[in-house]
Amino acid sequence: MWPFILRRVLAGLVVLFIASFCLYVLVSLSGDPLAQLKANPHVSPRTIEAARHQMHLDEPLLQRYWTWFTGFLHGDFGTSTTGQRVGPQIWVRLGVTAKLVIPTVIIAAIVAVLLGIWSAVKQYSVTDHTSTALAYLFYSSPVFVIALVLKNFLAVDVNKTLGHTIFYTVGENTPGVTGTWNVIRDDAAHTALPVIALVLVTYAAWSRYQRAAMLDVLNADYIRLARAKGLSRRRVLLVHAARNALIPVTTVIALDFAVILGGTVITEIVFGWEGMGRFLYEGLTGPVSPDVNAVQAWLMITATAVVAFNIIADILYAVLDPRIRLG
């Protein structure tokens, strides 16, 4: 297995290098960080030139990339166009997104697997039809629509009915809250709606994968053989069928997790969370953008996550299916 992992890591590093170069060039050429200054009649041409020099925009593109690259090799993500260190920011943003994504993935995976298996076992039953209809409804609904419905028809009404705030509609927390229990309660109240919104759009697709995989397995010869040998229905479903049906879904979840970690831009904007998605969005569209160093930092984190989770998916595949050997 180790030679396999080593080969994949090396291939991943090459991909990262090529992606970083391409993105650096594309982002640098996509706009002018001095646009805001140029649009302000009060800013003198001398100031604009000084800003150009201080942002290193007067240096050749390749030289700028090389400066960034050598800094990155030393663990330095550089400075944003507005003068803040990118490194500390990106880790904070990753933490914010993780706070949103980890509960989402855990809840969505459990719901999707259970519903998918249940739907397959009860194929064409009322439960199956209902589950299918709901999955398609949530899968086809944009996350901002679900978010607005949750805000306007759940949060506001529930809070009014109860007379105090159970669900918050904006932000990650309330500033100034102290005490462990209060902080946990406040965080939960802020996290509930965005997590519900993300779970609904995420579980929908996964439950369909799970249902299809389970149906495939249920129709396989070895399941019929297991039943013919007299194994209990429960043992056949859980040990023989479900374990094999988890293999494709596990891969999908592992790969999706890396992508979601890169940012749930719309959810973060709608709920006012400052995570990875907004970090990228602001890097590309903020007042002093494009912010190449910010975008590069986002890329390196998310691309690394994608590579890592690809490898993890392969390993999980082997663990779940003894027939597969990595080498």
């Binding site: 706009g31 646009a35 805001q36 140029k38 302000n40 800003a51 003068g83 803040q84 809070n159 500033p175």
Partner: protein, 569 residues
Amino acid sequence: MRSSRLVKITGTTAMSAAALLVVAACGAGSSNPPPSSGPVKSGGSITFALDEDVAGWNVLQANDNEFVLQEILDQTWPQTFVIHPDLKPHLNTAIATSAKVTKKSPQTVVYKLNPKATWSDGTPINADDYIYNWKAQSGNPKYKDVGGKAFLPASTSGYSQIKSVTGSNGGKTVTVVFSQPYSDWQSLFSPMIPAHIASKVGFNSGFQEFNAAAKVSGGPYMLQSYSKGEDVVEVPNPHYWESKPKLDKITYRFITNDDQQPPAVQNNEVNIVNPALVSTTFYQSVKNIPNFNVQVLPGLEFQHIDFNESNPYLAKQSIRQAIAYGTDRQQMVDRIVAPLGVKNPQPLQNRIWMPTQPQFQDTSGGLGDFDPSKAKQLLESSGMTMGSDGYFQPNFGPEKGKDLTLSISTTSGVPVRSQIEQLFQASMKSIGIKINIQNYDANKLFGTVGPKGEFDMIEFAWVQSPYPSGNQSIYCSYTNANLCGSNWDHYANPQVDKLFTQALTNIDTSQAARQYNQIDSMLWKDMATLPLFQQPQLFGWSSNYGNIIPNTSSTGIPWNANQWGVSAQ
């Protein structure tokens, strides 16, 4: 998404403007009850939704110069003069007990500083602050920031005309001598960066992170905490020397998507809103929320169409005038402004003064009236022939014999601007001009397309401060690239240049106002640009707070946040 708002006159979208008293006189609309005032009690907190995070903490630095930051710093960085809702500068006696022009030639202003005024770390607010703020914003390369770097000021207006700033009386008297007169002298030193901090940590980069430097206050409140993209919290400055503010805490909550603000208001998570570019959806969402005051006021910001005179057809004054006569501006205000609750909105007839300012005059001379038949006559007399397809065809220039086709550009994804373009396109079709819409993201429009003159016509908003001097770089002759860098239209008129010089150096403000109106009258005759309408600003706040008074100037609604409080009733 909304675009950024800069503090002073800029090419991006919105900012606030307009005075309550003047608004009433102009018949502009407001919905719901008048501002809540009356007795307020001490204690409590308030949350104000801002639609943009800050880029740094030095609002005087070019990259940080955003309206949201000015709002946050209203109560922390000292301002010698504060713009009140009447859109006039008022002396802030907490900082200076007097500020007077003591000599006309050379113009000399003497500031007597409040002896009690100190920064929150105990350092007195004195002449050193005035000297540092002048040098950092003078644009003079002999003054350098920490590390020998050039200062990056957001503006050098006024400061570049100062010859010297000296202190006396233990630093509590400041004498400013100008090398040439400056009529907007009251705009200077408002706000001020703490010199004793900036000179150590740096003007350009020392305030980019939220650190001890950013927390130093010279006002009623001080910054307590900042969570990137989430919120900023201000608490009373314990060292403040005047009356203590009422509220224990002001939270500025960043809600960058304006559509998300109404649910937050309904859920009592936010108490004040002032979106960058109000939409009818937003207005409809908040106007019926119980116990929530909503006022829509004309801002100090206006939408306009610019003509690029490097285009051989738009170079002709008669064609520009024809386009103006053919544009149904009243239809635009009826469709765009009226649904926001503004009663009897009118097209804008002045580029330098807004109708909500006392200096405003209708300088259009009828040149902005909607008169399609006159537009067609002008096009014919300009060398155009009506084609069989209903479009004029020029008898000269690169498009000779083809339909007269011009493009209009603005920022993509901004509904108000798209609506303006579509109405303009329809108006032009009716007078025989074909319009292509070619939009760009804000960065490209203001970074490349505008400055490089890669457009035929361009639509966006100028945000005015009550001080008119910022208009010079927009309308003075483009041939003077250093001074007139914001003139993207290749417009040039030596008489306008001369009048600007006179107005800017005229310290008789009423005479200067007349000169600015003369300038605008010339701009109408030349049809340099076509002003469309004043952009409305929406202010909404929970009615259980008192003393909240909208301020449509570049100071913003927190101009008197030290008086805000929970109503005592």
